[in-house]
């Protein structure tokens, strides 16, 4: 209980730090989303393109990154993604923070064991453990990490350079069913509702916490908070949806400025598809492809 732990002392600083960090993290996430909206509406190479063309072109590159059979071509795609990001005002720091580190950690867990588990030509031996690192293992790990990094970077480029309603509109224009686009739109809004609810919930909790709670009680409270948070945010999201219906929303995406495709958009699409074609055709291009 609060008063019990208050009398006992405990670790108020540690607990306070956790809640502070959590709240700061949630607020940062909201700021980050607002920042992404600003970036999408700002100047930049990709921001100037028709969202449909951009989505189509970058989607083609995502697919290419998944199916490409050459490491050189994959590296080329990765460099291309990075160059497009820089030309669109997205910093390397942002890319690293939002994609590269996370993807590296996630795929690294899967890829690193492959270095020694995949049989093949020995390249080196891990000292003390006597595990053999194979060429095929290294190649597999490089492909896994490279594909994930490149595909995720291209996907992020679409999101960071296109206002969300335009992404939805582009998806509709590309034939994605209305129900899927409506679900995507609702999911996007639900994330913000969830974030806002979390901030309110943790602020309310912080204002009522007198001191540290024992571990089991803290965990129980945390679990209860999660349930309340989900319930509350679901209710809020439903209310938001009703408010949208009340203002005429029927699932379709409407924009103030209708999307228009100009010659430069077609040129950009041709450029992006050419990159995809070169990457796919790399092993068959004479003399310059790596065939390993």
């Amino acid at each position: 209980m609060g008063e019990q732990t208050f009398l006992r002392g405990g670790h108020p600083r540690r607990r306070g730090d956790f809640l502070e960090r959590l709240l700061r993290g949630l607020l940062d996430a909201m700021d980050h989303a607002a920042d992404a909206e600003r970036l999408a509406a700002g100047p930049g190479l990709l921001q100037r393109l028709d969202p449909r063309i951009k989505t189509l072109g970058l989607l083609a590159l995502v697919v290419t990154a998944v199916f490409v059979k050459s490491l050189v071509a994959l590296a080329l795609l990765f460099v291309c993604a990075t160059a497009l990001a820089l030309a669109s005002g997205i910093t390397l720091r942002r890319l690293a923070g939002q994609v590269w580190i996370g993807v590296l950690l996630f795929t690294g867990v899967l890829a690193v064991p492959a270095i020694v588990l995949v049989p093949g030509d020995a390249v080196a031996v891990v000292p003390l453990l006597d595990w053999t690192i194979t060429r095929q293992g290294l190649r597999g790990a490089a492909f896994l990490i490279g594909r994930a990094q490149t595909a995720a970077t291209f996907a992020l480029l679409v999101m960071l350079t296109t206002p969300w309603p335009q992404v939805l509109k582009a998806l509709r224009s590309l034939g994605v069913p209305l129900i899927l686009v409506a679900i995507l739109g609702m999911t996007h809004r639900y994330i913000f509702v969830l974030l806002e609810s979390s901030v309110q919930l943790f602020e309310a909790k912080r204002s009522r916490v007198m001191g540290p709670l024992p571990g089991p009680q803290r965990r129980r409270l945390a679990m209860a908070s999660v349930v309340v948070l989900l319930e509350r945010s679901l209710q809020l999201a439903t209310e938001v949806h009703l408010a949208m219906i009340a203002r005429g929303y029927r699932g379709e995406v409407h924009l103030l400025d209708e999307l228009r495709t100009r010659p430069r958009d077609w040129l950009a699409l041709a450029g992006l598809l050419s990159i995809a074609a070169v990457a796919i055709g790399w092993p068959w291009l004479p003399a310059i492809g790596d065939r390993g």
Binding site: A34, E37, P163, W164, R189, F192, E196, L236, E239, V240, L242, A243, M244, I245, A246, R247, G248, Y249, R250, H254, L255, L256, D257
Partner: protein
């Protein structure tokens, strides 16, 4: 209770006959019958949990009666019928709802987008939207907030944006759920002035409130709800003058206090403290 109304000869904007509605097992409306004539400013009065908000949602066709009949502009409303594109469009074009909590109503990245949302759904032209958004921003003193995120605004500003983004489509019927809840006196005054301006304009306004201080200014006629039932109706003057009714429906409560000279007495105290507002 039979369907009755303030002006039986005027065409009805809404007509409810023996309407029942429940949230799962919890009844919210229990046999409500009423008629809201077009062009009237109506107040739905009742304490918390009396069914005001549910009634507004029914009028906005966001939910439908479990039992009974609900009609708007002479057309019966039901879930199935509202699936028809043409009926839904016509209805949303004519009826606007301002929610009690502006946070649920504001979901766009900027105030501009928020105001443009409704007209976009209704297929207005770009020029018309830009013109109307600018006009509404000026009318509601929101021009400086045009590019701000609605979530970063103060409570009063949010409420003004919520009101503006419904009024921009010029609905014939305006439904408001506790429009002055959690607002400071200045913001309350602005909202009340706006609603008072609707009187006599031909627009039908239905305001759910338990703030009796604003009723005389914004409503010609009142319906009083208690525990999901319609318990009284009449002109604002009649209802506000009926202390016994207001006490029975918990819109007034006896307030006891001691003066500095030591004399103690009780008098009626209007129940207008919004949920969550400090006492």
């Amino acid at each position: 209770m039979p369907a009755t109304a303030a002006h039986p000869h005027t065409a009805a904007a809404f007509e409810l006959v023996d309407v029942h509605y429940a949230y799962q097992d919890i009844p919210a409306l229990n046999g409500v019958s009423l008629r809201i004539p077009t062009g009237q400013c109506i107040a739905l009065l009742g304490a918390n949990g009396s069914g005001k908000s549910t009634l507004l949602r029914l009028l906005a066709a966001l939910c439908f009666p479990d039992r009974g009949r609900l009609a708007a502009f002479g057309e019966e409303l039901s879930d199935e019928r509202m699936q028809q594109e043409s009926l839904a469009y016509a209805f949303r074009r004519r009826v606007g709802l301002v929610f009690q909590n502006p946070d649920v109503q504001l979901f766009n990245p900027t105030v501009f987008d928020e105001l443009a949302f409704g007209p976009l759904q209704l297929g207005w032209t770009r020029e018309e939207i830009l013109r109307c958004v600018d006009a509404m921003l000026a009318e509601f003193s929101l021009a400086d907030l045009k590019h701000r995120s609605p979530h970063r605004l103060s409570g009063g500003e949010k409420k003004r944006v919520a009101l503006a983004c419904v009024l921009i489509t010029r609905p014939e019927v305006l439904l408001l759920d506790e429009p002055t809840a959690a607002l400071d006196p200045r913001s309350q005054g602005e909202v009340v002035r706006c609603l008072a301006g609707c009187r006599g304009s031909g627009r039908t306004v239905v305001t759910a409130t338990h703030n009796l201080d604003i009723v005389a200014e914004i409503a010609d006629y009142c319906f009083v709800l208690q525990a999901g039932r319609l318990v009284a109706q009449g002109t604002s003057t009649d209802i506000l003058g009926d202390g016994a009714l207001l006490r029975a429906t918990q819109l007034l409560h006896a307030h006891w206090h001691v003066h500095a000279d030591g004399l103690a007495h009780t008098h009626d105290h209007r129940h207008h403290v919004a949920a969550g507002e400090p006492l």
